[in-house]
Amino acid sequence: MIPVEHFYYISAVLFSVGLAVVLTRKNAIMVLIGIELMLNASNLNFLASNTSEDPEGQFFALFVIVVAAAEAAVGLAIILKVYKYFKTIDLDKIAEIKD
């Protein structure tokens, strides 16, 4: 068996990687991918901690997956829209609104 700490470490690493992706990649879709990674990290945590009779963590993870799907759908739709207007999805090139 794997010690439970390992799950936590892996989840932490996963979250960090996700975060790094979000922070450093210019491409909006990459950012979305990063977010998915972060969500997965959380899920891993939930499941790792779900030791009792009550499968609370499992359900939570399930719902998170569902929400992630919804979010990804809307997110991609928005990105497409952006692409239509800006002809790019580089986040740093999207800067129309000024003070």
Binding site: V22, L23, T24, V31, D90, L91, D92, K93, A95, D99
Partner: protein, 673 residues
């Protein structure tokens, strides 16, 4: 008592009548006021004969503050009654005189209104039984003086003179107010009689001056006296505030006679006599010294003037100096005596001078000449043309010089003796005071004789052939005033003031200042002093005769060179210049400095607050854009320098913000931990 109120109120009526009448009926108004003033003069004389040594007083509540009440009340004692009579009489005569003198003036009604207002206010000062009321009327007198000096307001010099007079007076009033504060604080009352009795009861102990109510450090007693004295200095044109009086001659001449010679300027002396009990040794010495100094300075300043009225003005200053010196040496009754005699002869002189000036105007008008009607260098030989004027002037001058048989001799004698006695008592430096006084006697006779000679003797310097003296409006006042300048009116023995009915009627010594007991004048030196003064008068007359005897035409050219002394005299010791250079300059500089402070510093400091707000917002923006973004920029820069991995400096906004948020989050967590 009713009659006293009546006397007080009558001039006010006169004021109201004149103020409300339209300009068409101004003459009627002026006669009205003459009639009214006649009434009040009669009343005053009635009171004078009736009063003797009684002291009439009555008061009612004016308003109350807390449990203290401020009262209005009247006080008539002998000195007040005499003063009242003098003021009323001279005022009556001046009103009468003015009817003709001002006949051509456009501000006729205004003139009479203010003149009546002045009479009212002056009566008020005389009759008030408390200091607050005195102050009230004191200021009112100042106001009417202001208005009368500025009567010809279109003349810049007149309006400036008026302003100067009021402001300088105001400085004195500041002293009055301070003194009032001290009195109120110490006695809780302004009533003169209360003050006197409370002052007697008060003590000086351990450096504290304690009355029933309160105890103040001793120095406040001196400040009190100096405060009152400052008021008198302002009003009575003493050094260093005498500068306004010569300028005040810009006013119509009757006004100068009434206000700036006879009555108002004497109010300072009158006030000092009213508050005499409150003066302590230090104050008295200061008063004596300033008085004597002013007498001397005024005398010197009068020496070389060419303006007929200015000579008289400086002479007034000088005489007022005498009076205050008298107060200072403790001879307040002598001072009052001189006040009254001076009032008459100086009024006579001024009115006579007015007559001369009026005549000169007449000449100028007839001959279409542009000339200064007050310049003595243009006069001369008027004796025959204006006989009544001349004799009035002569009598007045003799009284002023202090020749025996004239009133001035009596009162001046009394003052001189008092000062001599006082200096005996004190010794040392104090001898300076009688010495100055005696020198002034010499100066007085010199400038008066000079004036007489220049104006009335010799050949006329301009064409005066068709000159004619004016009617009874002029003559009557001149005659009456001249009569009052004779010694016999005042004392049966014209050589000895101690026989004067006036001095006899005054109550005994008033001085109760705890610390310092002023000596009772010792009359043994009487004869000596009298003789010395007469000799000095003769000397002065001689000198003047030598220099200005008819026929000698020297130093009269307008372009002539003046000696140092003459310059000093002509310019009144350069006091105006000095004030201009110092006091006014300081005020001006500090004013503009404050104005600069106001606009530059204070306003800015406050705007700074707003500005800081704006700057702050920009800072925040800068923070938002530079730090938040700049952090990223910097990191990009950093990485390009160190790592050389990226070639672009681009940065993404959203992600930068996320970084910013995360940094905040981390900070937050560290804050917690």
């Amino acid at each position: 008592m009713f009659i006293v109120i009546f006397i007080l109120i009558i001039p006010l009526f006169s004021f109201v009548i004149n103020a409300l009448l339209s300009s068409g009926k101004a003459t009627f108004g002026s006669y009205c006021s003459v009639a009214l003033l006649l009434l009040s003069t009669l009343g005053a004389i009635h009171v004078l004969f009736f009063i003797e040594t009684k002291v009439l007083t009555s008061q009612v509540d004016w308003f109350s503050v807390g449990d203290q009440s401020f009262k209005v009340g009247l006080l008539v004692d002998f000195q007040g009654a005499v003063m009242l009579a003098v003021v009323s009489l001279i005022s009556l005569l001046v009103h009468l005189y003015s009817i003709v003198y001002m006949a051509q003036d456009s501000g006729y009604g205004r003139y009479f209104a203010t003149l009546s207002l002045f009479t009212f206010a002056m009566n008020g000062i005389v009759l008030s039984n408390n200091l607050l009321m005195i102050f009230l009327f004191w200021e009112l007198v100042g106001l009417s003086s202001y208005l009368l000096i500025g009567h010809w307001y279109t003349k810049t010099s007149a309006s400036e003179a008026a302003k100067k007079a009021f402001i300088v007076n105001r400085i004195g009033d500041a002293g009055f107010i301070v003194a009032l504060c001290i009195v109120w604080c110490q006695f809780g009352s302004f009533n003169l009689i209360d003050i006197q009795s409370q002052m007697e009861a008060s003590q000086i102990q351990n450096g504290y001056w304690s009355s029933e109510l309160n105890a103040l450090p001793k120095v406040w007693l001196s400040i009190l006296g100096i405060g009152f004295f400052l008021a008198a200095v302002g009003k009575s044109a003493q050094f260093p505030l005498q500068v306004w009086l010569p300028d005040a001659m810009e006013g119509p001449t009757p006004v100068s006679a009434l206000i700036h010679a006879a009555t108002m300027v004497a109010a300072g002396v009158f006030l000092m006599s009213r508050v005499f009990v409150l003066l302590d040794g230090l104050t008295l010495s200061i008063i004596a010294f300033i008085g004597a100094l002013t007498a001397f300075m005024g005398g010197v300043a009068a020496l070389a003037q060419f303006d007929i009225k200015k000579v008289l003005a400086y002479s007034t200053i000088s005489q007022l100096g005498y009076m205050l010196m008298g107060i200072g040496v403790g001879a307040y009754e002598a001072a009052l005596f001189h006040l009254f005699t001076h009032a008459f002869f100086k009024a006579a002189l001024f009115l006579a001078a007015g007559s001369v000036i009026h005549s000169m105007h007449e000449i100028a008008h007839k001959n279409h000449l542009e000339l200064d009607a007050q310049d003595m260098r243009l006069m001369g030989g008027l004796k025959s043309k204006l006989p009544v004027t001349f004799y009035a002037y002569l009598v007045g001058s003799f009284a002023l010089m202090g020749l025996p048989l004239f009133s001035g001799f009596l009162s001046k004698d009394a003052l001189l003796i008092a000062s001599v006695n006082w200096s005996y008592q004190i010794g040392n430096v104090a001898y300076l005071i009688p010495s100055l006084a005696f020198v002034t006697v010499l100066l007085t006779s010199f400038y008066m004789v000079r004036q007489l000679l220049l104006v009335f003797f010799g050949r006329p310097r301009i064409e005066i052939s068709d000159l004619r003296e004016f009617g009874w409006h002029f003559k009557l006042p001149l005659i009456v005033l001249s009569v009052f300048s004779l010694g016999l009116i005042w004392s049966l023995n014209p050589f000895d003031y101690s026989h004067s009915w006036f001095l006899a009627a005054l109550p005994g010594k008033l001085n109760v200042t705890p610390e310092f007991d002023v000596v009772i004048p010792d009359l043994t030196n009487h004869a000596l002093v009298g003789v010395i003064s007469v000799i000095l008068v003769a000397l002065g007359t001689g000198l003047a005769w030598l220099k200005f005897r008819p026929g000698r035409e020297l130093m009269l050219s307008k372009t002539g060179q003046f000696t140092l002394l003459e310059n000093l005299s002509l310019n009144n010791w350069y006091l105006d210049v000095i004030y201009e250079k110092t006091v006014l300059r300081i005020v001006r500089v500090s004013t503009s400095a404050l104005a600069v402070l106001e606009t530059r510093v204070i306003d800015r400091a406050v705007n700074l607050l707003g500005w800081v707000g704006v700057v702050f917002s920009f800072l925040l923006r800068w923070f938002d854009q530079t730090i938040v973004d700049g952090l990223i920029k910097f990191s990009a820069f950093f990485s390009s320098q160190v790592g050389g991995m990226t070639k672009s400096f681009q940065y993404g906004k959203v992600q930068s913000f996320i970084i910013f948020a995360l940094v905040s989050l981390l900070l937050l967590i560290f804050l917690i931990l």
